[in-house]
């Protein structure tokens, strides 16, 4: 085995910090929270999803295509409420745009 000890220790450290973040959040579920913090947690998915979507799209090399695909997907999702249709529709638009430009 060509594995060096410092590499394995680094990997162990990477695992430890990641696992700690995951576990500590899950372990705080019993906290009794005020209306404000309950509302805070309800809005977490919304703010997080927006943060996962926007930089990914607007900082991409082909952002005009991605933006258009996302716009079409948004329209489809709004009308159909179906995750599958949104992904398929957005993907199709993106692929067609890649073929023509």
């Amino acid at each position: 085995m060509s594995t060096a000890l410092p590499v394995l220790l680094t990997l162990l450290g990477m695992w430890a910090v990641t696992y700690a973040a995951r576990l500590s959040g899950l372990s705080l579920g019993h906290l009794r929270l005020s209306a404000f913090w309950l509302a805070f947690l309800r809005f977490v998915p919304i703010s997080v999803f927006a943060a996962l979507i926007v930089p990914d799209v607007v900082n991409s090399a082909d952002w005009p295509r991605q933006l258009l695909a996302c716009a079409v997907a948004t329209l489809l999702l709004w009308r159909t409420r179906s995750l599958a249709w949104g992904i398929v529709g957005g993907f199709t638009v993106y692929w067609l745009l890649r073929q023509v430009s």
Partner: protein, 228 residues
């Protein structure tokens, strides 16, 4: 495929992630190729996918290993990129009661995608959460291995153009939540904030900072209007 079953089960959680495999698989291959180029062995490359299991930070670490960065700076980068999982755990724990053993297990496999799918699932339970988590774990690890073995033959995910599946999937999870004025405002604010922050900060920090600030704004706006 993505509509929630009447009673959430391991297999419905597992299947809900399947559309994302298309995006995940090429990135796992790309990670393995990057890791190999950085001088990591097949064992080390696979071990990182099995233990750390966090895509963006694995990419970053592979790059840093290649530059000969100090172990502490690799670990610190990983911590910064992954501390957002704390928010996911907090948010999930409000919906699913978990015993200590269940938390220890569920924590190992938590990801952006598993969180996103699970938090949007009606009647979420442990089985569904684990199904979603292990669905991604399976595809990430299988394709890490494939990437290590035959990576050079597979085209760059950038060229394949499959990365678009991630913003599309997160859009699919976001749109149904945008009912009413405050959620719309929070989404718009968060999107703008994330855009601005992404010009100066790494991705994991952007998600964490935006996640907190956006949700604070939402909590402030909604509790204020309830009181008024």
């Amino acid at each position: 495929m993505t509509t929630a079953a009447s009673s959430p089960s391991f297999s419905s959680g597992f299947r809900a992630i399947v559309p994302l495999w298309l995006g995940v698989a090429p990135f796992a291959v790309a990670y393995a190729v990057t890791a190999k180029a950085s001088g990591l062995s097949l064992f080390e490359t696979q071990w990182m996918s099995l233990s750390v299991f966090a895509g963006a930070s694995q990419f970053a670490a592979a790059g840093l290993f290649g530059q000969g960065a100090a172990p502490i700076s690799i670990i610190a980068t990983t911590a910064v990129l992954n501390v957002r999982h704390l928010l996911y755990g907090l948010s999930l724990a409000q919906k699913v009661p978990l015993t200590v053993g269940q938390r220890l297990l569920a924590a190992q496999f938590l990801t952006d995608e598993a969180y996103g799918i699970s938090i949007s699932a009606p009647g979420l339970n442990l089985a569904y959460l684990l199904g979603a988590e292990l669905s991604l774990y399976t595809v990430w690890n299988v394709f890490t291995l494939l990437g290590s073995l035959i990576g050079a033959l597979v085209p760059d995910p950038e060229k394949l153009g499959v990365g678009i599946v991630f913003p599309l999937a997160f859009l699919g999870l976001l749109i149904p939540q945008l009912v009413g004025r405050v959620p719309l405002i929070v989404a718009a604010l968060s999107g703008l904030l994330a855009w601005g922050l992404s010009r100066v900060l790494p991705g994991g920090v952007v998600v964490l900072a935006t996640g907190i600030l956006g949700a604070l704004a939402g909590a402030w706006l909604s509790t204020r209007s309830e009181r008024a």
